[in-house]
Symmetry: C2
Subunit: 130 residues, 2 copies
DNA sequence: TAACGCTGTGTAATAATATAACATTTATAA
DNA sequence: TTATAAATGTTATATTATTACACAGCGTTA
């Protein structure tokens, strides 16, 4: 059984917003949207984002400084993320590929480093933009 | 034969600095260091960084907003980068693993997306920090 | 109960990262 | 030569993210 996190009011408001979008949202765009719900300052947004990332409800797209909801119950540990990003329309999709995930999970370098997380971003052109 | 890029003065100054460091440097720390050489504004740094990334002389560590020199003549296309990052001491190493690179290069999703680039960052604890 | 640690809140200020706009200069190509 | 692309220098500004501080709520435990 997985521990069910209880989200606070601010966290819920922000998660709701991100989940309603199928594309990544930026922190200040989130801030703009939640002002009507009483969230007034950047820090309130960043604090909620940090928690949501930590518990795996959302992921940060590092190359875009944006946040997207995770739709895969299996990666809610936030430790293994793969995305494809269209450099033309900026469409982002989370990739779930068993073989690739396995390969990455099992990767060992020759420096004795102990990994506990990875993030992979593929860039290219989506079908619509080719 | 590979086309040898001719770097401009600013680009050379900034590449030199980054190559002398074995760890990633941040843009404003670079700016601070090159002020004595007549580079005065952030934009001058960011323009040089952009070019150097484009020609593969340096890579951006996206999760850290920092830039590291590429020591591998083979990835000077800047299209296929893998890094390991220690979350304790922030040590960054570029990884060259033939099998993993091959796997990533050959990866195809089921959406018909055409990839031309990827960036992979592993996080964990290095030998010293375990 | 009271004291404590932990997490979250609200607010203000500020730090850190990155780009826009403009005039000019330099390098390369036709 | 002309023209065209790439780089420069400068000022201003936009965007992203954190520090600092006072306080509130909650569960643990002395
Ligand atoms: Zn996910
Ligand atoms: Zn697209
Ligand atoms: Zn490289
Ligand atoms: Zn370390």
């Amino acid at each position: 059984m997985q521990k069910q996190e209880t989200l606070t009011k601010n966290q819920k408001i922000i998660l709701d917003l991100i989940e309603k979008s199928d594309q990544p949202l930026k922190a200040y765009s989130i801030l703009f949207d939640v002002k009507k719900k009483g969230i007034n300052a950047p820090l309130q947004v960043y604090r909620a984002l940090k928690k949501l990332v930590k518990i795996g409800k959302i992921h940060k797209i590092e190359s875009r400084n944006a946040f997207i909801a995770c739709k895969n119950s299996k990666c809610q540990i936030a430790k293994a993320t793969i995305f494809s990003i269209c450099e033309s329309c900026e469409d982002v999709t989370e990739i779930h590929d068993h073989k690739l995930s396995e390969h990455l999970r099992d990767f060992k370098d020759n420096k004795g480093m102990k990994y506990n997380k990875y993030n992979l971003e593929f860039f290219g052109l989506c079908k619509k933009c080719v």
